[in-house]
Symmetry: D3
Subunit: 239 residues, 6 copies
C-alpha cells in the first residue's frame, strides 16, 4: 500500500557513511533512502559570550538545503538574504536534540557546530540530519579524545530521530516525500537509545488526530529509533 512497497513499520534503506569530508573533525553522509544529508562537526575554541567562564561548552546546529535538492528548485536562502522560518525551526530542533544527550561540562569551553546540508531531499530531512548529526558529533568527540583534548566522550545517551504519520488511514514509519505530501498527520520523534523522549512534534494537516493514533505513532517511532541507533553504532564501529 505504501508507494515504495515498504511494510508499515519499515524504515527506508539507512546508510551512514563516515569521514566524508577531509577538513571536518567529524562528518557523516546520512542517507534515508533518497534523502541525503551531509553532516559535519566543527570544533571551535571560542564560545558564545554568555557561556564564558562557565566551564561549559555548547553544541549548536545549522541546516540548509541545496537549491535543487528538491523536486522543484527552491530559491537559495543566501541570495534571498534570510533563512526561512522552517530552516530556523529545524536547526533549533537539531541543536536541542544533540544537546539533550551531551554533558556540556564534559569538553571544556568549546563549541561544536553541526552543519546539516541537504544534498538531495525525499522527505524526512530533519530526522536524517539529527541521526547523522549525532554520528558526526560522536566522531568529533572521538577526535578530541584521540588528540588528548578530553578524556572521555561527553555523551549521556545516544539519540536518533524518525518521522511517523497517518497515510491513507494507516500509521506508517519513516515517511518519504510521496507519503509526506499526502499524509493526514505527521510527527517527528527524537528519542534516545535508553527510551527517553527528547522532542515530539506532531502536526495534524487537515483534521486533528486522535490520542490513540498518536500512541501508535510513538510505538512505531520507538521501533524505528532502535534500528537507527543500531545503524549509528555500526557506522561508528561500536557494534
Amino acid at each position: 500500500m505504501r508507494p515504495s512497497g515498504r511494510a508499515l513499520d519499515q524504515l527506508r534503506e539507512i546508510r551512514l557513511e563516515t569521514n566524508v569530508n577531509k577538513h571536518a573533525e567529524g562528518s557523516c553522509m546520512a542517507r534515508f533512502g533518497d534523502t541525503h544529508v551531509l553532516c559535519t562537526a566543527s570544533v571551535e575554541e571560542n564560545i558564545p559570550p554568555w557561556l564564558r567562564n562557565s566551564g561549559r561548552g555548547w553544541v549548536t546546529a545549522e541546516y540548509g538545503m541545496l537549491p535543487r535538492s528538491t523536486n522543484t528548485r527552491s530559491d537559495r536562502e543566501a541570495a534571498r538574504g534570510k533563512q526561512s522560518g522552517r530552516t530556523q525551526e529545524i536547526q533549533r530542533l537539531i541543536g536541542r536534540s544533540l544537546r539533550a544527550v551531551t554533558n556540556l561540562k564534559g569538553f571544556g569551553e568549546r563549541q561544536v557546530r553541526i552543519d546539516c546540508d541537504v544534498i538531495q531531499a525525499d522527505g524526512g530531512t530533519r530526522t536524517a540530519a539529527i541521526t547523522g548529526g549525532y554520528v558526526a558529533l560522536h566522531l568529533a568527540f572521538q577526535h578530541m579524545k584521540d588528540i588528548g583534548a578530553i578524556e572521555e566522550l561527553p555523551f549521556t545517551d545516544q539519540v536518533a530521530a524518525v518521522s511517523c504519520g497517518i497515510y491513507q488511514g494507516k500509521e506508517v514509519l519513516d515517511l518519504d516525500y510521496a507519503e509526506d505530501s499526502n499524509a493526514a498527520a505527521d510527527a517527528n520523534f527524537v528519542l534516545t537509545k535508553a527510551g527517553g523522549v527528547v522532542e515530539v512534534q506532531g502536526t495534524a494537516e487537515d483534521v486533528p488526530f486522535q490520542r490513540s493514533q498518536f500512541d501508535e505513532l510513538l510505538d512505531l517511532a520507538e521501533k524505528g529509533v532502535a534500528e537507527l541507533c543500531a545503524a549509528q553504532a555500526k557506522a561508528l564501529g561500536l557494534a
Copy 2:
C-alpha cells in the same frame, strides 16, 4: 509547591476580553494570569497568489513581543531588522492551529490575518495567543456573517492550547515563567473541543522524559483545554 500556590492541575486566572480594538473585525485580549496577549483578526480581500482561483481562503498569523513585555528588555525585532527563529516558529504554529479547525472553503477567497502581540509576558505566550486568536477569528467570522459576506461560521471544531511541564519532578498544568524557566521538560498542546490533537510540541530541557510522563502531561492538557474552551464560549456569549 508551585510558586503561585496553584494546584498541580490548575490553570491561572483566565480572562478573555473581546472587542478591545475599534478597528479590527475581531479582537481579544487574552490574559493567562500575568501573560497578556492582544489578538486581532483582520479580514483582507486579497489572498496569497498561490490560492487565486482556488475557491479557498487562508488564515495566517503573526506574533510579536513588545520590547519590555519581558522582565529584561529585549531588542525590538523591527530595529534588529529580522524576526527571530522563535518568533517565526510561534507564528507558524498559531496559523496551523487555527487552520486546523477552519473550513478554508467556507469564507471565499479572503485572508484573515491574526496578529498576536504580547503586551506582558509571564510564560505561555503562545498558548494564550492560540486561545485568544481563536476568539478573535470567531468574532471576525461572526462580523462577516453579520454583514452578509458568509452564511455560517466556517469552523469545524473549537481549538485552544495550554502548556504542561515537569517542575520539581511533578507534572503541572499551565506553567508560568517561574516554573517554565526551571522545568525539566515542557510541552505545548493544541487540542480541539472534540478531543482531537492538532499540535504537540514536547521538549526535554536537561534530561529526556519518559513516555509515561508524557502521557500524564497529555492528561493535564486535556483537562486544561476543556476549561479554556468553556472560557472561549463564555467570552463569545455562546455558553
Copy 3:
C-alpha cells in the same frame, strides 16, 4: 464644526494610566481619545560606547505601531525587515524631547529606554507618546530614587506635546484622525511647563500657511500643553 463636536481649542479626553506593566521601571498608558500608546521606561546599566567614562547617562526612545492599530492593517515592520522613515523620525523626536528636560549628568552612566507602542491609533500618536513617555521616565527616575540609586530626580523641566492644524480654514487643537487626514497644515509642538520651545515641526500639506496662522497654532499649543502638564502631574500624584 469638528467631527468630534469639540471646541476649537479643546483637547480630547486625556487619560494617563500609570504602572500598567509589571516588569518596567516606569510605565504609562497614554490615551488621547481613541489614540492609545503604551510607554515603558527601561533602566539599563550599560550605556552607548561614545558615552563611557563621560559621567553622563542617556535617554533614548523607540516607537512602533501594532499592525492593526490603524484602520487598515499595516505590515509589521519586523516582518518587512526595516523600520520606516516615519518610525525613525518619530522615535528620534521622542528621544530629543525627553532629553531636553533631563539633566544627563544626574543619573550616572545609565541608559533609560522609552518604548512607545501604539496599541490603537486615531491621530496624534507621537504627541501622546511624548506626553506618556515623560510620565514613564518620571516613574523610572522615581524608582531609581526609591532604591537609592539617585538622590533626586534629574529633571530640569516638564515636557508634553500636542498637535495643532488648520482644518476647514480654522486653527484647531489636538487633531484626531478624521481631522488630520483632511487638514491643510499641521504642526507638532513640544513645549515645557515653563514655556520653553523644545521642538516645532510644522508642515503645510497642500498650500503654505501664513506666519500669522502659525502664531495662532502656537497659541493653541501653549494652552494644550499647559493642560497636559497638569494631567501628567495628577497622574504622578504631584498635583
Copy 4:
C-alpha cells in the same frame, strides 16, 4: 563674533551652478560656502502604483552623503545596508518642500526624482539641497516644456530653505558646521517667495528656547530666503 566673520544676518557665499550633469533633465550644484550639494532631477514616465489613473504626477527626493564629505569619514550607507533615520528624515523633508510649490496635476502622470548628494559638507546640507533641488526641478520642467510635454511650468510658488540658530546667545542666519555643532538651538525654515511657511523644524539642543527667540529666527529666515530666491532666479536666468 561668528567664526567666519559674517554678520549675524549674513548668508554664506551662495553659488547655484546649473546644468552640471550631462544626463539629467535638470541639475544644479548648490554651494552654500563649503557645503556643496549636487542636485539632479530625473523625469520618469512611470509613477507610484497608488497614483495610477489619478491624473496626478509626483515629486520625490533622495538624499545621500559621500563618505568623506564630512570631516571624519562616515560609513557608506550602501555598505551598511540601510539608510539612517537622519537620511530618511531629510529626504522626506526635501520631497514635501518641493511638492508644496508644485501643482501635481500640471505635468501628467509622471514622476520627477530629485537626487541630492552631498559632495562636501559644512553645515546646512538639507537647506542647500532644497534650494538647489528647486533649481533642478525648475530646469527639468523647463526641459519638459521645451520638448512639448507640458505647456507651462507647474509651479504655484518658488521655495528655498535656510537654517537659523542661537549661537553664543545670538540669533544667527545660515549656520556653518563650526556654529551648528555649538549652537544652543537650531531651526530649519522652508519658506516660499510669496511669504508662506512650508516647513518649520526647530530643535533645542541643550535648553528650550523662548517664543520670542523663535520669532527672531523666523525674521532672519525670511530675510535669508528672500536672498536665496533671488539667487535661484538669477541662476535660472529669470532675473
Copy 5:
C-alpha cells in the same frame, strides 16, 4: 617541487560524475583532486522580465560553499544574510562563461539555472564549477531534446576553465590550495575547445607579473583546457 608532486603542467585527477541528483534536469559532481563541486542544471519555463517576448532564453548561475567545505569553517551566507563579494563575482563569471558558448535563441524563452555548490574545497573551485557546470548544462539540453522540447543542442562551442599561477618562481597548472595560498600571482582562464578566449582574470598578489610570464600561463591553460574538454566529452559519452 609542487606539494602534490605533480609536474608543472599536470592537472589534478579530474573526475566528472554525471546524473548525481535525482531531481535536476542535468547534474555533475566535478572533482579536481580534493575540490568537489556539485553542479545542477534546472530548466524553468519562466524567464527574467527583460527577456519576455524576445525569443531568447537565459542561462544563469549561482555559487555557494558549504560552511565546512574549507579547512576552517566559514559562516553560512544564508545566516549572515548576504552573499559575499567573492560569491557574487564567481557566480557572475560562471554565468558569462556558459552563455558565451550557448546560442540563447536556441531553446525558447526558458531559463536554465546552474547551481554550483562546493562540497569540499582545495583550490580552484570556480574553475571546477565552470567545467562541471558545462556538463550539467549539456545534460539538461540533452534532456530537453529527449523530451522533444528542442531539436538540437544550442551550443556554439565547448567551454572549460583552469587556473594557473606562479608558485616559487615557476609557472604551474591547476593550483591546489597549498599552492594557491602561496602563489605570487594567479590567473583563471575560461577557454573554448576551439581555442577562443572567453574570460581571463589575472591577479598579482604581491608583485606584478611580467607579460612574458602571463604568456606562459596562457600556454599552460590551453593545454589544461584541452584535457578538460576531453574529460567532459568522455563523461558525456561523446568521446
Copy 6:
C-alpha cells in the same frame, strides 16, 4: 570610425584635478572625457582586526555611482539595502590594484580608505577610479610624510588602468559608453609604470576572442597606461 572621432589608440581627454575636497587627506577628481570619478583617501588609525600587531597597514576601496550618473537613473544602492555584485567586484579590484604597488609595511598599522564615487559616467568608471585613486593615495601618503607620520612614500611602483576592446572588428583604446555597449569583447588592464601586470580582466560578450586579438589589446593598454602615468605625475607635480 569611432563615435568620438578618436584614433584607435587614442585616450579620451584626461584631467586629474587634485585637492578637490577640504576634508580628505588626499583627493582627486579623475575625468576620462565625460566620465568623472571623485576619489578621496581617508587615513584611519584603526585597522582591521586580523592585521593588529602585524606591523602592516591596509589599503582598501569603496565604489559607488550617484543615481543619475548614468543616462537612465539607477536605484540608489543605499535605498535598495545592498551593493550589487558589480559594485563589489569593482571595489575589490580597486583595492587589490592599489595594494599591488604599496609596501604595506611602510606606513604603520593604519588603514587608508579610497572612496571612488562616480559623479558622471560615460564608460570606463573603474579604470578612472584606479587611476584617480592612485593620485589620492599618493597625496594622502605625502600628507602623512609632511606631518612626520612616515619618512618616505611607501610605493613600490606607480599604477594606472585603462580598458580596451574590440569595436566593429577593431582593437580600440579607452572605450567610452557608446563603444562599450556595442563591443564584441572588452578587457580592463591594470599595469604599472615599470611594465608589470597587476590585473587583467578580459570578457568576451558575444563570441570568444582570439589570443592574437588579446595580445593587441595588451599592446594598446601598455601605450595608454604609459600616458596615464605621465598624467598622474604631472598632476602630482612630479613631472
